[in-house]
């Protein structure tokens, strides 16, 4: 079909050129004589052109008066040939010197890597292709020094925390700015159901490169949005030549990383009695109470007790998920048009049903050269994703399977003998214990689902006025509709009494961006290169949502609001913000040896007070390419050596939209009438938080390009922090937002790549590590700690724990003990006994990526690690209640509990109601703080590429088959399911292990 089309087009082309005087044919080869296909051959000064075929042969008709043919191809030096009298011109093309031409996307422009003087990490397509991950931010994990990526939990397509070079803000957001093909993405989440990560719209395999602008100087061109760093994503584009197809399919399984052993029915019964007796009950009454807790009559015999069954709820809940992905893309182009079209479908089912993620996406990129000077680019990304949400994304709800699975009392059956669920409301059966919902039934019956439809696109017109001067105008949109459907089936506990409950929500995000830039790039007298950039930009974000709730459904088969008997609530809101900006850059390079860049941006934002609407952000960057110096040019031991220094400012505007204003809210209601109340005091002086950062960097390549080292050291200071300043509540308000305080981050980042073997057996290894230190430098009014959060203290890092220290178990009494501030034992630690212990951010972290290949075989192994991070393990805390409440508990605690005077153990005596006599709660202080230190084999891929000869016989370009494992191996001392999470680890679906196998065909 395609061939026929080309033929027809060629005929038309030839017909129009019938009066042409001359037809030139020839063969294009590389410098070793191998034929080159898809080389563009054009007649200089015209639009006439063609491409070479697989044998490198071309044929072109040259209009009268034209004397030069131009040959160009990706990776090759452009070549020009004069047309003589011969009708055959054979050409040998030279490989382009790639290292020299390596480019980096820096924001509003692309520059030579040589000219970069700030800290930018780049992740290329080859590193992240075919990764079984629905979100590109996840793929960044461990691959960029100084960037912490952590999954909030194991919900496929769920939240990710991405923190670039430490946290500098207390109340303002810490999310980096994401820019996809020039469109700044709105990263607010619209779902009340689950985590629908706004970055899910893009299929990772459509990405050409991810550039992370880490230091304030690099990010400064993005001004007030850039203080948390900037992530620039560039998607793949069409390449000149015949259409190339790429089809890739993979599928596999996902399962839990681990389980935790809990008690049998008999063990729990014994432990429960012990808890009651320790709390003062007589053995006889404890026996009766423990029986009644298990739903058994007081006359139950010991024989009956010994034969009680134990049901494994964890086993029932932790199933097996599956993964499937299919995608196809086509790209190609002629002289004036290039295109890239890609479609994909992906499905990730979590190992705890019914949570999943499904996405269909389409990316269309067309670039059209209207004439040699004007190019129109159009990019359109459309995606729709559907997610079944868990009953809870992470809280202590009784119906939350991830939370409850280990705590259901084991005496409760899961199913009845006839296969129906046990203990459903209205059945006469009751599940005993605090966790009294059949979580398997909830998984099947409850329908919480979220649909996210997203469109991200832009059109740009580029006008190359002269080879040096380029004008560009761009308009883009990032549009997202999130629809939540929360149906609590009338058969489940939470909705039985009201015959089912439904909440429907729609949330629209419309984010419009447009900019116009001027770029001037010229080299004077061979030595002086200047690169000027100027631009204006406007962005407007708008969010609107509404929600309607109803209850009372005649049947569980009726699941929409029109069947609800009683409306229970409606709500909705609107909010918007806008910024208007001007920016400029001056770049100067002397013989590519000395690089100097200066940028400035002026932002005006609707979010800030009348008195401070405008802010200016500047950066200066210098670099020295020492390799270009004459004394180093001929030193073969050093292939590249560059020193960089930069200073920059960037702003943080991630706060609410109208915090400057004094407002009356209208969300209250009394007696069927609405109420208004003073909701916000407002601050007309409100302005951005500013980050100022110094960065020193070194890039070194030695040993015949086998060893590359990049080192960066930085010190950044966030000042005028956007702080929610606590007010005395007697004013009627709890806080106002003001610009107060300073926070410092210091760090060192190292990236080492080696290629020790470059022959038939190749090994490429890339290791990165980053150390970070954070400190609160100053608060306000001379305060040593924040009144609203005593853990935020001058001289200590953000994210610290500030609590009393656990002192273990008193061997004489079995009671838990704490240290007071003087190091003495206490049972009632007070506020004065708190001290700083541990921090939720790692001390150092990074990744280690290895690629081995031999002939067609390749192995990719990527390790990722985080050391020095401390978190509270909420799940563990709740599972260590040791029958002090009617929930199942951990076998490890049971085996290690205090029972008799003299026992030296870690777990205190069990106590009904959890807090021992005249003692603080059982989970107080540092008892449940643990280090999350882990190293894990994040990704292991074993692949085989069919040899070129075989592929050719099949008329294909390439065939690759592979198997992949994600999170295959983890080393950690974390006590509950998995150390990778954000928050308090309450009832989240843990991160899982994935195994997939795939095949990719190119033709």
């Amino acid at each position: 079909m395609m061939k026929r089309l080309v033929l027809v087009l060629s005929v038309i082309l030839f017909a129009s050129q019938l009066w042409a005087q001359k037809v030139i044919t020839g063969k294009v080869t590389d410098d070793k004589g191998a034929p080159l296909r898809d080389v563009s051959v054009t007649v200089k000064g015209t639009l006439t052109g063609t491409t070479t075929n697989a044998e490198g042969v071309y044929s072109i008709s040259v209009p009268a008066g034209r004397t030069v043919l131009v040959y160009s191809s990706v990776d090759m030096e452009p070549t020009e040939m004069n047309i003589g009298s011969s009708s055959t011109i054979n050409v040998s093309m030279r490989q382009a010197e790639k290292a020299l031409e390596e480019v980096v996307v820096t924001g509003y422009q692309t520059v030579r890597k040589k000219d970069v003087a700030s800290a930018i990490s780049r992740i290329g397509a080859s590193e992240i292709d075919n990764l079984a991950m629905p979100n590109f931010a996840q793929a960044m994990q461990g691959r960029a020094a100084g960037v912490i990526v952590s999954s909030a939990n194991g919900i496929p397509g769920g939240s990710l925390s991405v923190i670039i070079r430490g946290v500098g803000s207390i109340n303002a957001g810490t999310v980096p700015l994401y820019v996809v093909d020039g469109v700044q993405i709105n990263t607010s989440v619209g779902s009340i159901n689950t985590q629908n990560n706004p970055l899910n719209f893009l299929n990772t395999d459509d990405i050409e490169s991810i550039e992370i602008l880490k230091d304030a100087a690099a990010a400064s061109i993005y001004g007030a949005r850039a203080a948390n760093g900037v992530v620039l994503v560039t998607t793949k584009r069409g390449k000149q030549g015949k259409p190339k197809f790429n089809v890739s399919v993979y599928g596999g399984k996902t399962k839990e990383l681990g389980r935790i052993e809990v008690l049998t029915t008999q063990q729990w019964f014994e432990l429960r009695k012990e808890a009651l007796i320790n709390a003062g009950a007589t053995p006889a009454s404890a026996h009766t109470t423990a029986l009644s807790n298990l739903g058994l009559p007081s006359n139950t015999t010991q024989g009956k007790i010994d034969s009680l069954p134990t049901y494994d709820w964890q086993d029932a809940v932790f199933g097996q998920g599956d993964i499937f992905s299919a995608e196809a893309s086509i790209n190609g182009g002629s002289q004036n048009v290039s295109y890239y079209l890609s479609g994909s479908y992906q499905k990730f089912n979590a190992f705890i049903a019914p949570t999943n993620f499904q996405r269909g996406s389409l990316l269309s990129k067309v670039s059209f050269k209207i004439n040699p000077k004007v190019t129109l680019d159009n990019t359109l990304s459309i995606s729709t994703s559907g997610q079944n949400a868990p009953y809870s994304t992470g809280n202590t709800g009784f119906g939350n399977a991830a939370y409850a699975a280990g705590m259901m009392l084991p005496i409760n059956p899961i199913y009845n003998p006839d296969g129906t669920y046990y203990g459903m409301p209205g059945s006469g059966q009751a599940i005993v214990g605090t966790f009294n919902h059949n979580i398997m039934a909830i998984g099947e019956y409850v329908n919480y689902s979220t649909r996210t439809n997203q469109l991200v696109g832009n059109s740009a017109l580029t006008y190359k006025v002269t080879p040096e001067l380029t004008l560009r105008g761009m308009a883009g949109i990032d549009y997202r509709l999130t629809q939540d459907h929360r149906y609590q089936d009338p058969r489940v506990n939470d909705a039985f009494a009201v015959n089912g409950r439904l909440s429907d929500q729609s949330d629209w995000n419309t984010n419009f961006i447009t900019n116009a830039t001027v770029n001037y790039n010229k080299t004077f007298k061979e030595d002086h290169n200047i690169n000027l950039l100027g631009g204006i930009e406007y962005r407007r974000d708008q969010n609107q949502w509404f929600q309607a709730d109803g209850q009372g459904f005649p049947s569980y088969m009726l699941q929409y609001l029109n069947s609800a008997s009683t409306p229970t609530g409606v709500s909705g809101a609107w909010s918007a913000s806008a910024t208007f900006s001007q920016f400029a850059k001056v770049g100067y390079s002397f013989r590519s040896k000395y690089i100097f860049n200066y940028t400035a941006r002026r932002d005006a934002s609707s979010r800030f007070g009348l008195n401070n609407k405008y802010g200016i952000f500047q950066s200066a960057q210098v670099a020295w390419n020492a390799k270009e110096e004459s004394f180093l040019r001929n030193v073969s031991a050093i292939n590249d050596l560059k020193l960089r220094y930069s200073f920059g400012q960037a702003g943080n505007d991630q706060i609410g939209n109208v915090l400057y204003a004094q407002l009356y809210g209208a969300t209250r209601i009394y007696g069927n009438s609405s109420g208004i109340f003073p909701s916000q005091l407002g601050n007309p002086d409100l302005s951005w938080e500013t980050r100022e950062e110094h960065n020193v960097g070194l890039d070194l390549t030695v040993l015949e390009n086998r060893l590359t080292i990049t080192v960066d050291a930085y010190r950044k200071l966030n000042k005028d922090i956007l702080l929610s300043r606590a007010l005395y509540n007697t004013t009627g308000f709890s806080s106002i937002t003001q610009n107060l305080g300073k926070i410092e981050n210091k760090g060192l980042e190292l990236m080492v790549s080696i290629d020790p073997f470059k022959g038939a057996f190749k090994w490429r290894s890339s290791f990165n590590i980053a150390w970070q230190k954070n400190k609160v430098v100053e608060l306000y009014d001379g305060l040593e700690s924040l009144p609203s959060d005593a853990s935020i203290r001058v001289g200590y890092p953000l994210g610290s724990f500030f609590t009393s220290e656990w002192a273990g178990v008193n061997p004489a009494t079995g009671r838990g003990m704490w240290y007071d501030i003087n190091g003495n034992i206490t049972y009632n630690p007070t506020a004065a006994d708190r001290k700083i212990v541990g921090n939720i951010y790692p001390e150092y972290f990074g990744g280690w990526n290895n690629t081995f290949s031999y002939k067609g075989f390749s192995v990719d192994a990527m390790f990722q690690y985080e050391i020095g991070r401390v978190r509270q393990d909420g799940q563990y805390t709740q599972m260590m209640r040791m029958a002090g409440a009617t929930v199942n508990t951990l076998l490890s605690g049971y085996n290690d509990r205090w029972q008799n005077p003299g026992d030296i153990v870690a777990t205190p005596r069990t106590f009904n109601g959890l807090a021992d006599y005249n003692s603080v709660g059982w989970g107080s202080g540092t008892r449940y703080l643990f280090r999350t230190d882990y190293i894990r084999l994040k990704q292991l891929t074993v692949g085989y590429d069919l040899p070129a000869s075989k592929v050719k016989k099949l008329s294909l370009d390439g065939v690759r088959v592979y198997v992949q494992a994600i999170n295959l191996w983890t080393r950690s001392k974390w006590p509950s399911y998995d150390p990778e999470f954000t928050g308090d680890n309450f009832g989240i679906i843990p991160v899982s292990k994935n195994f997939t196998a795939g095949v990719q065909v190119r033709f």
Binding site: T434, I536, Y538, A578, Y664, G682, Y728, D781
Partner: protein, 502 residues
């Protein structure tokens, strides 16, 4: 080519014009909130502000739950069974497990102060409306301050002078600027001054409001008199407690009436309790506090009376303890309160109040639960909260009369209660002296079980809180009797004094 240039030029001009208009786009006011300058200029604004101040009473920290359930958990009549681990600390009188109505109360008080100052400037309202607003706001301010001071300070009738740090912060001026709020360094007013302010507001409300105003869901003269009698009782101003109670009892065209033994139970099953003088109204289903913290969910697992075999509807966290059950005249319950099927049969004395207590649904065992709230408004967890109820008038007056040495009057008021609560009541010998006072307090305990009175009755007489399960002996001079003032209120404020022991 020139055509193309023209096109580009035109596009540039359009872009330039657009860029200029962008600057105007930077003013984006809220569409979901009102500009504070405009909010209170109209009648509808003031009415909406009034609704807001009432609505705060619905919150969990106020009459949504805490005002009733927390003090009763701390007192000597209840057992927190830990089914959902709620109210355990309160029940054990642990430090820091106490009332926490500071923040919500001062939010409402600030709004009252701001709106009271704005009423005069409203153009589209009649004088009568303005007077009514002022009366309602002052009643509400009295209620909020009373609920603050009775918790965060000693009650005037019993103080521990060495530990007494005064009353609460008294603000009568609203805050409407960030600068003033940031500079505010309040101090605690003397307890007596706070009570005087409360009574001033109540006197004003009595004078400004009509007898029944808009019924029991809103402030009225009747409600102001009833609240006044309680405030005076806490103040130890027996004369005033007597006169306010008498005025409320004899008010014509007031709200509600006493129930009798015949309609006592149906009174409690009705959405609007016929004895209610002032109640917090949960008008729509969506306003209920849900399955965890509504009053119904806190106190019972039952969906309806007798539904012991039915579906568990609430948590049933706070249940009567053995002491209360025996005082109510219930017998047959197990010592540990929890039982499994077959459930022991219970016997009930002739006091109808015990008929509101029955076996709940099995949830880690069955407990006898209080059924004063069980979704009376038509759906689970949905109940109004009656703040002021008729029998209190008689019990307040009986207590005041006792202190005024009018034992005959006190006995007469007790007889009114007995007659309304005990089937076939036959008067016995009148009580005198301490036994009379003890009986008045005992009747308050039985009448208002789980309605948030008992803890303060013990507190204002300096009585030790004694419980056997959990084992607690809390003398009246223990620091845990008073809550900690939120730490953030004291930090950085040299004028503010924390309560003793924290």
């Amino acid at each position: 080519m020139t055509k193309m240039r023209v096109k580009i030029l035109m596009l540039s001009v359009i872009a330039g014009v657009f860029a200029q208009s962008c600057k105007k786009q930077l003013d984006i006011p809220s569409r979901t909130s009102l500009d504070a300058d405009l909010a209170l200029r109209t009648k509808s604004g003031i009415e909406a502000s009034l609704n807001s101040v009432y609505s705060v009473l619905k919150s969990e920290r106020q009459y949504g739950r805490d005002m009733f359930s927390v003090p009763d958990a701390m007192a000597d009549i209840a057992f927190a069974n830990g089914r959902s681990s709620r109210l355990l600390g309160e029940n054990r009188n642990q430090s820091l497990s106490n009332m926490a109505n500071w923040t919500t109360s001062y939010g409402a008080i600030n709004e009252i102060n701001l709106t009271l100052a704005a009423i005069g400037g409203v153009g589209d309202a009649t004088d009568a409306e303005k007077l009514r607003w002022e009366g309602e706001f002052k009643f509400l301010r009295a209620l909020y301050y009373f609920d603050l001071v009775k918790n965060y300070a000693y009650i005037p009738t019993f103080t521990v002078p060495s530990q007494d740090k005064g009353g609460v912060v008294l603000t009568l001026q609203g805050f409407n600027s960030a600068a003033a709020a940031a500079e505010f360094r309040p101090s605690r007013a003397a307890t007596a001054d706070v009570y005087n302010q409360i009574m001033n507001d109540l006197y004003a409300a009595v004078g400004l409001l009509s007898n029944a105003n808009k019924g029991r869901n809103y402030a009225s003269k009747h409600a102001a008199l009833a609240l006044g009698s309680r405030v005076a009782l806490y103040q130890g101003n027996w004369q005033r407690a007597d006169s306010f109670a008498t005025a409320a009892i004899t008010l014509t065209g007031g709200i509600g009436t006493m129930t009798t033994t015949a309609n006592y139970i149906t009174g409690w099953r009705a959405a609007d309790h016929p004895e209610g003088i002032f109640q917090v109204w949960f008008a729509t289903l969506g306003e209920n506090l849900g399955v965890n913290t509504s009053l119904a969910a806190t106190h019972t697992t039952l969906a309806s009376p007798g539904a012991v075999g039915g579906v568990r509807t609430g948590q049933g966290d706070l249940v009567p303890n053995g002491f209360l059950l025996s005082q109510l005249g219930i017998a047959g319950y197990p010592v540990l309160l929890s039982a499994s099927a077959p459930l022991p049969a219970l016997t009930f004395s002739s006091d109808v109040r015990n008929r509101l207590f029955e076996w709940g649904v099995n949830a880690s065992g069955h407990y006898i639960e209080c059924t004063k709230w069980m979704g009376k408004n038509g759906s689970a967890n949905w109940d109004n909260t009656v703040v002021l109820r008729w029998p209190e008038l008689y019990l307040n007056r009986a207590e005041a009369r006792y202190h005024l040495s009018n034992e005959v009057g006190a006995n007469a008021d007790l007889t009114t209660i007995y007659t309304a609560r005990i089937v076939g009541y036959t008067p016995g010998a009148p009580l005198a002296g301490q036994p009379l006072l003890d009986e008045i307090l005992r009747q308050r305990m039985l009448e208002f079980a789980f309605e948030g009175h008992r803890f303060y009755d013990l507190k204002r007489y300096g009585l030790t809180i004694t419980k056997s399960n959990p084992t607690v002996t809390l003398p009246a001079n223990d620091f845990r009797l008073l809550p900690r003032i939120p730490v953030g209120e004291v930090d950085g404020n040299p004028n503010m004094v924390q309560n003793f022991g924290y």
